[in-house]
């Protein structure tokens, strides 16, 4: 199933519902041919509104949507040639699986014999051959998801949009479908925009991740960029777990946190306030010493890792240890420990004038 992968560009996209802040504001985004981009953010950040504007289901208040250089903004939904998979799949309940998939081809006036061939091809692609005559309600969640994907792909769209397609599946199936979607996307080379609130999904699937906060693009980068080099405290907090500590610059290349001086890589003017963020896996616990001293307040065992909560005078952090390493087994609540981290692992976010 060859497919034309389109180049998508969003320019100054804005959606204002007239109450409160705009749902999407000043959004600029360029997505290359065949690229897989995830729109990631909490609910209400505007990611779904953005996707629906690309599809044509929501009219932008301002800005333009360009696909391969063509302005789509004024084009009605049914002329856009964009495939979309909805969160609840939106399969037509009164049609068989084959009729669901054939629908888009019929709308394009394709001859019956060709339709049958392409439906069979699409079903083979999602490994559902033999399910032609079934009704959607006679399928499992994962199978419905695959039919929805086949229905969106069979029209050979210029662009594939996925709106939280995995959120209705159980954890195991979700991981399986994740791999399958990625594999199909690569094979077809189709430009894809994927909306999700699940950072693991975004990191695992996307070539680039666009993190959105309150209608704005907070950061656009590779999964490694947004995880290891988050642009803002919001991105750091949203993508993965992280510890945040209030700090003040000492002017000697060190930051004062809860009375202790900690070396950091970045230099800040004396007295400047900052937030220091450290991923739990970078926090080292020592029997004594360390930059900060505290006491273990609790252990949470989650299988592959154990989370160790430590609190001291004016700070609280969570450290994480892989359970394959037996070192954590001696630890227990009430023990005094030293807390430290490598200077390169600390993310320092200076507080700007407006307090963010």
């Amino acid at each position: 199933m060859p497919s034309g992968g389109g180049r998508l560009a969003l320019a100054g996209l804005r959606k204002d519902y007239g109450v409160g802040e705009p749902a999407v504001d000043r959004l600029d985004l360029e997505i290359g041919q065949g690229e897989f981009v995830a729109l990631l953010g909490p609910s209400g950040c505007g990611k779904t509104t953005t996707l629906r504007m690309i599809a044509g289901l929501v009219e932008p208040t301002a800005g333009r949507i360009l696909l391969d250089g063509d302005d789509l903004t004024a084009k009605p939904v049914h002329r856009r040639n964009i495939g979309m998979v909805f969160q609840n799949y939106a399969l037509f309940p009164h049609m068989s699986v084959a009729d669901n998939i054939a629908f888009g081809l019929e709308m394009r006036g394709i001859a019956g014999a060709d339709i049958r061939g392409r439906v069979a091809e699409a079903l083979a692609l999602v490994r559902l051959s033999g399910f032609e005559a079934r009704r959607p309600k006679a399928l499992s969640g994962g199978q419905q998801q695959r039919v929805a994907l086949a229905r969106a792909l069979v029209i050979r769209p210029d662009l594939l949009l996925l709106d939280e397609p995995l959120s209705n599946l159980d954890a195991k199936l979700r991981e399986e479908m994740r791999g399958e979607i990625r594999e199909i996307q690569r094979r077809l080379g189709i430009t894809t925009v994927f909306v999700t609130h699940d950072q693991t999904e975004a990191l695992a699937l996307a070539d680039r991740v666009a993190v959105m906060e309150r209608g704005r693009l907070a950061q656009l980068g590779t999964p490694e960029d947004v995880y290891e080099r988050p642009a803002t405290p919001f991105v750091a907090r949203f993508v993965g777990r992280i510890n945040a500590l209030a700090a003040a610059a000492g002017g000697d290349g060190r930051l004062r946190i809860a009375g202790a001086a900690i070396p950091v890589a970045d230099l800040l003017p004396v007295g400047a306030r900052a937030t220091v963020m450290v991923r739990p896996q970078h926090i080292a616990l020592t029997p004594s010493g360390g930059a900060l001293s505290g006491r273990i307040t609790g252990l949470t065992y989650v299988g592959d890792v154990v989370q160790i909560a430590v609190a001291g005078d004016g700070f609280a952090v969570v450290a994480e240890r892989g359970t394959a390493d037996p070192g954590w087994r001696g630890l227990g609540p009430g023990q005094d420990v030293g807390v430290a981290w490598p200077a390169t692992a600390a993310l320092v976010f200076p507080e700007n004038a407006n307090g963010r």
Binding site: A55, G56, L57, P76, V77, H78, R79, R80, N81, I82, G83, M84, F86, N88, A90, L91, F92, P93, H94, F103, G104, M107, R108, R135, R151, A152, I155
Partner: protein, 285 residues
């Protein structure tokens, strides 16, 4: 264990007794009486006689007057149901899609005609449709007509009044039946290349058919048994089964004949219900 189960069954029977008694005494018994009365003879003055006869059923079948009546009733009911559907469908669809805090209020507004007595509404229509009513006055004032158009005391008036009286029932039953219709399905069809019209024909309409059958059945039943509206807006010139029952029962005082027509309507009802049930199953798949 077995005794326990039997005891429970006994309790269930005892508990359902009041309901069974109410239905039997309130609905079944009168229908049986009605059926019995339709088999009583009547003398020339119409008075109820003793004994058994099929005379009135013969009259019903052989006298073409009743066939005409039944046909007129059928036509009138189908017409009013059709127009109620045409007006009610867009209203119900609009209300179904509405995501506003005013939704409840608007639904209430759609059904509030039910709060006004049918008699009052019929007189309201006479004020609007009469020879000196609003519509004729306006048309005359605009110089479009010289003589008033007849809009009441005929079939047109009855059809207008019936349509209006059916509308709240139609809107409500459509609204209740539109549950399966999800906005996302229409959006999916649009992204797949269907124009708004084709989306309506291929997705919206098929999925709303069960609601259409339900609403039409209810409205057809209400229309064919309607009496007040045909009586008042027909002005005694529109003859339907329901008005004929009234005339026979209260003017001619031929109760057996009135009962016979009533039984005929009951049979018609059952046929429509069976057909509607079949249709409902077919469109719901």
């Amino acid at each position: 264990m077995a005794g326990d189960r039997e005891g429970r069954r006994g309790l269930a029977a005892a508990l359902s007794l009041p309901a069974v008694a109410t239905v039997s005494l309130g609905f079944l018994l009168p229908v049986v009486w009605l059926a019995r009365m339709s088999l009583n003879p009547s003398d020339a003055s119409g008075a109820l006689g003793e004994g058994w006869t099929l005379h009135h059923y013969k009259e019903l079948v052989t006298d073409s007057f009743y066939a005409d009546l039944a046909l007129a009733s059928l036509k009138m009911s189908v017409t009013a149901t059709f127009f109620a559907l045409m007006v009610g469908y867009p209203i119900a669809l609009f209300l179904h899609r509405l995501e506003s805090r005013w939704k409840t209020l608007l639904v209430l507004l759609a059904i509030c005609p039910l709060l006004v007595s049918g008699v009052v509404r019929a007189y309201g229509w006479i004020v609007i449709l009469g020879d000196a009513g609003w519509i004729n006055s306006m048309l005359k004032g605009a110089g479009l007509i010289d003589r008033p158009i007849r809009l009441v005391n005929n079939h047109v008036g009855v059809a207008i009044g019936l349509t209006e009286s059916l509308l709240p029932y139609m809107t409500l039953s459509l609204l209740a039946g539109l549950g399966r219709l999800d906005r996302g399905l229409e959006e999916a069809a649009r992204t797949l290349g269907a124009s708004p019209l084709r989306t309506f024909l291929r997705i919206t309409l098929p999925l709303s058919l069960p609601a259409v059958v339900l609403g039409s059945t209810i409205c057809f039943m209400l229309a064919i048994s309607a009496f007040v509206t045909p009586r008042l807006l027909g002005g005694g010139r529109v003859f339907l089964l329901a008005t004929e029952i009234y005339d026979q029962a209260l003017l001619t005082l031929n109760w057996p004949l009135a009962a016979t027509i009533a039984v005929a309507i009951l049979v018609l009802f059952s046929l429509v219900l069976v057909a509607s049930g079949r249709l409902q199953r077919r469109v719901a798949q």
